[in-house]
């Protein structure tokens, strides 16, 4: 990592620490939900952007994480245990959901994960004895970290920020590890990866499992943030929203989902002055982006950088310029 990158990261972190201090409670709430959705989108980015497996089930893992955390903390289990349990359960279920991905690809896999999401929502709704059914669960406690309560929006923000940084660092480690490289190999050309000795089966399952556990953690935090969950909050639309975050930001780029989540969480805020038209404008923007830059916003940046380098050094190949 160059000095310049490090300086940028430190500056970014400083902004994340200082920004909420200038915001109203609502502003802090929006920042919190951005971080929570970023965690979820980072997980999906691993599954989709790096390993190339299309999943429309991220919201269901958020749901599982949220319900496990809510039920366990409300039954008196300490929050770290509840949140770890949520992540482990999502890891296991994600691992199992990865099995169909061994046999089907692309839009068929999308349908399978979509069905899984619908199934989870139905279970959450119909198993009233456990989940409270349509009424959902109200009054989920916020954690107490090292004796400090996180009842106030600001305190909870820093709790979420800490976990966000932890998960981002962990993901960075995963992507740079041999695992990360096998994920990419799987996305680019599974047959070739296999011929080079990559265990496709294990890699696919792991990509699903790790991505799902990120979703589980995001769900845990979401439950504590809103202190209310119901099955409807984890429906297909939320899965599509998380998918949109990954794609708009740039699938396969480390900061892609974080940028995508920022845009999608904040878009209604930016467009508020247009009153009733904001959903239409928002939809149009997404269409335009997808038509002109299917690799997302960071893909656009990448392309611009390559074009600039090509102009400076016309003899370089595109590949060299892109480096």
């Amino acid at each position: 990592m160059s000095k310049q990158t490090l300086a940028t990261l430190v500056a970014g972190l400083a902004i994340l620490i200082l920004l909420p201090l200038t915001q109203s409670n609502y502003g802090v709430f929006v920042l919190c939900s951005w971080l929570v959705y970023s965690i979820s989108a980072m997980g999906l980015n691993l599954t989709l952007g790096y390993a190339g497996q299309v999943s429309l089930a991220q919201a269901s893992f958020m749901g599982i994480g949220a319900y496990v955390t809510a039920l366990m903390t409300m039954a008196g289990v300490p929050w770290p245990a509840a949140m770890i349990a949520a992540m482990v359960l999502c890891f296991v279920i994600g691992f199992l959901l990865g099995y169909p991905a061994l046999r089907v690809q692309h839009h068929f896999l999308a349908f399978i994960t979509l069905a899984f999401n619908a199934l989870v929502v139905l279970v959450l709704r119909n198993e009233e004895w456990l989940t409270g059914g349509t009424y959902g669960i109200v009054g989920i406690p916020r954690p107490e970290v090292l004796g400090l309560p996180t009842q106030t929006p600001l305190a909870f923000y820093f709790f979420v920020l800490a976990l966000f940084v932890l998960m981002a660092v962990a993901l960075y480690g995963i992507i740079r590890s041999p695992w990360g490289r096998t994920f990419k190999a799987l996305r680019e050309n599974p047959i070739r990866a296999n011929s080079l000795g990559v265990d496709i089966r294990k890699t696919t399952l792991l990509a699903f499992a790790i991505g799902s556990s990120y979703g589980g953690l995001a769900g845990s935090l979401l439950a504590q943030l809103t202190q209310f969950i119901d099955p409807h909050s984890f429906g297909l639309t939320i899965s599509l929203k998380v998918l949109l975050m990954v794609i708009v930001g740039g699938a396969g780029f480390f900061f892609g989902p974080i940028l995508g989540a920022l845009l999608i969480v904040l878009a209604p805020e930016f467009l508020r002055f247009t009153e009733g038209y904001y959903l239409m404008i928002y939809a149009t923007l997404v269409i335009v982006l997808m038509v002109f830059c299917p690799t997302g916003l960071l893909g656009l940046v990448e392309r611009a950088r390559a074009a600039l380098k090509l102009r400076q050094n016309p003899n370089a190949t595109t590949w060299e310029a892109g480096r």
């Binding site: 409670n25 349509t134 809103t226 119901d230």
Partner: protein
């Protein structure tokens, strides 16, 4: 730029930063946190338009305590989480009273935020649990389902001599709350439930649901769904030639359902808390003003919002000050009559939980119009 210019800019910035964060003009801020997009947009826009109408009238007549009222709309997108964020934003913006939302699932989440900040909230939601959670800042603008269902069941047993009912309901907070209250009342009255059919929010095809209702051989059908789904269900019921009488509560006979389903609504009977067709001078006058301004017929949500606005005016004027706590304290156990405040339209009382009590109506839809059959007294 000279040093002097820099210094004067710095001083100006310092002064502006040190000013207290209050609004410049003397205005009372009302936050309208309501469904303006998503599944609830139909009811939300009725509510918003009526609220606007009411506060325009109030402002034209000199405002409240000499101050103008400023209404800001916050769109919940019919999503509980967003609605919570919007209530938070409304409170940050300095709202005196929060109006809305209508969807019970949203109210359940955001009423906690309003409660923590001590901001009174006048909601349009009807699910029973809202007033059962011990929140001293929540007030209804219409009946909870637990109040209206007994009135309807009484009518079914005493007037219609019904022995069995098939129930169709929508599986969300609103539908389930209403269905549970209704079925509990049926049990008390000894009426059998022959079919219990749940459907989804936004469901398009009701063919299978209607087959179940029809084949249940119940004496009557009771439907408790949102407006758009009600319209689709009724159309399908007519298409399959169901002969049993159809009953509902408020939403089923809503103007929006009549607009959407047309003739299919004719003959439907039920209980409504409020209707624009009530033979009450205040409501008739309101409906006329509303239709003249917006060019469509108001539904019960519009009446709720209109009356809610005048509740804010009456209580604040009575208190003589713009104070949230006094507002909440004063509204508990209060009865307002149209003589006190013409904008209130009908005599209404609030109990210590924020539940309302007023006259209500049994209506039948005839030629696309709600016709009041009987006016039921206050409980």
């Amino acid at each position: 730029m000279t040093k002097r210019a820099l210094a004067s800019i710095a001083i100006a910035m310092a002064i502006s930063a040190s000013l207290p964060n209050i609004s410049w003009a003397d205005t009372i801020k009302i936050a309208n946190v309501i469904e303006l997009s998503g599944a609830g947009a139909t009811v939300g826009s009725n509510w918003r338009d009526a609220l606007k109408l009411a506060f325009e009238e109030i402002n034209a007549a000199g405002g409240i305590l000499g101050e103008q009222v400023e209404v800001t709309d916050y769109d919940t997108q019919t999503d509980p989480t967003t609605s919570r964020a919007m209530v938070q934003k409304a409170i940050d913006d300095g709202a005196y009273v929060i109006m809305g939302p209508i969807y019970s699932g949203s109210v359940k989440v955001n009423m906690m935020v309003a409660q923590q900040n001590g901001v009174p909230q006048l909601t349009g939601a009807e699910a029973p649990f809202i007033t059962g959670m011990g929140n001293p800042y929540i007030f209804r603008t219409s009946f909870g389902a637990q109040q209206s269902m007994p009135k309807l069941v009484k009518y079914l047993t005493e007037e219609m001599k019904v022995k069995s009912v098939a129930v169709a309901w929508v599986n969300d907070d609103f539908g389930k709350g209403g269905r549970d209250s209704f079925v509990a009342e049926l049990e008390k009255a000894g009426i059998a439930v022959n079919a219990d059919v749940s459907s989804e929010v936004g469901q398009a095809d009701f063919a299978a649901d209607v087959i179940k209702l029809k084949s249940s051989n119940a004496d009557a059908i009771f439907a408790y769904l949102h407006e758009e789904e009600s319209a689709r269900l009724l159309k399908e019921i007519r298409k399959q030639g169901v002969t049993q009488p159809i009953f509902g509560e408020t939403t089923l006979m809503n103007q929006k359902v009549v607009d959407l389903a047309g003739d299919a609504v004719n003959g439907v009977r039920g209980h409504v808390g409020l209707t624009a067709n009530a033979p009450i001078p205040g409501i008739e006058e309101f409906a006329r003003k509303f239709e003249a301004k917006y060019n469509y017929k108001p539904d019960h949500n519009a009446i709720k919002a209109y009356m809610g606005a005048y509740v804010v005016k009456y209580v604040t004027t009575k208190n003589g000050k713009v104070d949230r706590q006094s507002f909440a304290d004063a509204l508990h156990g209060l009865t307002i009559t149209p003589a006190d405040e013409p904008g209130i339209l009908m005599e209404t009382s609030w109990d210590d939980k924020g539940e309302v009590n007023r006259e209500s109506f049994l209506v039948e839809v005839k030629d696309g119009k709600q016709t009041v059959v009987t006016t039921l007294p206050k409980l």
